[in-house]
């Protein structure tokens, strides 16, 4: 049984297992470790049976939305005029998220195997790995692994001896967060600017180059081989029936030991922070961004929604005690999203934090919807004014109402992805926003220069 310092004691890691092994990224290591056995098992089944197996596990998409992968695959029409595609979303650009980077650079064969199983299940003969432009080492490692896979008969005219044509190509993006959204990604893959498409039609019916297309996140596909080697029961034994399987969570910000942790689904948020050495410098926890910068805050306050029915208030768990899985985090009022968890200590200014995020969303809006284009820019400008002490209390209400007008009004969820945090920060820290008006600016210290630290997580070319 393998475990490592970035997992709970005694927990057997499977997704991040080879990240800690020298040359864990090679075909040789992967196969010695039982790699491509899952693909072998899947190929012995009918495609429909493969989909059913994944459905039984209720594997929730790890890219942000948590949609069950098996159900998505079943939307692909069996007969189609145009070729079908399996597209791997390696855009990884939700701030706070940095897990797919290691899957790609430290264990690329796992995602190739998962993608091959998915392609076979939906009847696709071409896989595209769409990687964000800034992924240097991850792209080089994946390209080398794809070449090995061709060499070893996993890709090409047959797959592990079964006559099934399967090709794969690595496609490099060029710097645009919006291309992580699946339809913008497909536009970008086709050589266009990354503007999200109106849905429907959904990509499963009309996707890349007009053909039925499944887009799945890197981590989602990495889970797939495990389903076939370890089985449905093993997968479901971690977490709950609707939220099963192992999960990798990215921790950054104010914890003692940042890094990507592997835990069973439903591992409590407070326990994870403890595992990461707690809030740094012995400081108090102010808030947690649980699932990437777009997700509302969890604060260390009693949360009725998480309590057993009828429990007295003294027994209510804190929001920051929530089990980390899609449904539980939603119950606590936020979203588990892409599991990019950012921890904020008591010295963190919430106005500044939100304004920094605002810069990002304003920069990344593709501009085709007015509420998004105008709203992200205007709100961000107001937030910086507030931080500098140039805003009034009325401005705070205007920020609140302006952001609420962005919700649900646009082609893609990017506008919501900013409006949700705005609403959440204002609701949970309104006093702090108002105090910025009263004190004519920010009184929190600047963020201290103190790198996250552990060289283990650095790219080693």
């Amino acid at each position: 049984m393998t475990t490592h310092p970035y997992a709970p004691q005694g927990f057997e890691v499977t997704l991040s297992k080879r990240w800690f092994v020298a040359k864990g990224y090679t075909y040789e290591t992967y196969v010695k470790d039982g790699g491509y056995e899952g693909l072998k098992k899947a190929l012995a089944l009918e495609p429909g049976e493969v989909i059913d197996t994944v459905k039984k596990c209720n594997l929730r998409g790890r890219g942000g939305a948590g949609f069950p992968a098996g159900i998505k695959w079943s939307f692909v029409p069996k007969e189609a005029e145009k070729p079908k595609y399996l597209v791997v979303n390696g855009d990884e650009s939700e701030p706070g998220t940095y897990k797919d980077r290691y899957v790609l650079s430290r264990d690329p064969h796992m995602v190739i195997e998962g993608a091959a199983i998915a392609a076979y299940a939906i009847g696709a003969h071409q896989i595209y790995f769409y990687l964000r432009g800034e992924f240097g080492l991850p792209r080089r490692r994946l390209e080398a692994a794809v070449a090995e896979a061709y060499d070893k008969g996993i890709l090409g005219d047959s797959v592990l001896g079964k006559p099934y044509k399967l090709n794969a190509a690595v496609h490099r993006g060029a710097g645009a967060y919006i291309c992580g959204e699946e339809t913008a990604l497909l536009e970008s893959l086709e050589g266009k600017i990354g503007r999200p498409r109106l849905k429907p039609p959904f990509p499963a019916v009309v996707g890349a180059f007009g053909g039925p297309t499944i887009v799945n996140n890197v981590e989602t596909l990495s889970c797939v081989p495990l389903i076939f080697t370890r089985g449905v029961d093993w997968f479901l034994s971690m977490g709950s029936a609707k939220n099963g399987g192992p999960k990798i969570i990215c921790l950054s910000g104010h914890v003692e030991r940042p890094g990507v942790y592997e835990v069973p689904n439903g591992f409590p948020c407070n326990k994870l922070i403890e595992l990461a050495g707690g809030v740094w410098k012995g400081r108090k926890l102010k808030a947690v961004i649980p699932g990437g910068s777009s997700t509302p805050l969890l604060v260390p306050h009693a949360c009725q929604a998480l309590a057993a029915e009828g429990a007295p208030e003294s027994d209510w768990p804190l929001e920051t005690d929530t089990p980390l899985d899609f449904d539980s985090v939603a119950r606590a009022g936020s979203m588990f999203g892409s599991a990019g968890m950012i921890v904020l200590d008591e010295n963190t200014c919430m106005v500044r934090t939100l304004a920094i995020l605002g810069n990002f969303y304003a920069h990344e809006s593709c501009g085709q919807c007015t509420p998004c284009r105008e709203g992200t820019g205007w709100n961000t400008k107001m937030l910086w004014r507030l931080e500098r002490g140039e805003a009034t209390e009325d401005d705070i209400d205007t920020i609140n109402s302006a952001s609420s007008h962005m919700l649900g009004m646009t082609i893609c969820p990017l506008a919501d992805a900013f409006a949700m945090p705005v609403q959440s920060y204002l609701k949970k820290f309104r006093e702090e926003f108002v105090e910025h008006v009263r004190r004519k600016g920010c009184w929190f210290p600047p963020f201290e220069l103190s790198p996250h630290g552990d060289p283990f997580w650095e790219d080693t070319p």
């Binding site: 706070g96 998220t97 940095y98 600017i193 950054s252 220069l449 996250h452 630290g453 997580w457 650095e458």
Partner: protein, 157 residues
Amino acid sequence: MVRVLSQETIANIEKLFPRYPTRMAVLIPALHLAQNQVGHISEEVELDIAELLDVPPTRVREVATFYTMFHTKTAGKHTVRICRNLSCQLRGAEQIMQKAKEVLGIDFGETTADGRITLEHDECLAACGTGPALWCDDNLVENLTEEKLEKFLVGLK
């Protein structure tokens, strides 16, 4: 008629055609290859690519301007992109950005007089656990301190 792209760049672009059902899909990879050779996406580069891929030059221009990694004006030999997003900021990226300006004597969006370095901001590089971080010449430099940054910048030839 090819204007600026080398035979090698053209061959590398053409090698990608069989991977996709359309030539247009090669546009972004082609822009990367062209920028590697020329340094930026000039008008001549746009025309060459448009011809090779059989797409209108305006389409090439539109794509080259949309994606932040492409330079449409001349840029330094190296582009240093420093992350200014939240996780890096929580660990002091602001100070790193100040230091970079000081060491290079330029502001963000500018290029050093010797044409060595263009300084840019970047949004989250997916290196949040090792921030402050920068990206340059297709590699990350992580866990930046002021000393580490200065040494790196001075070392870029």
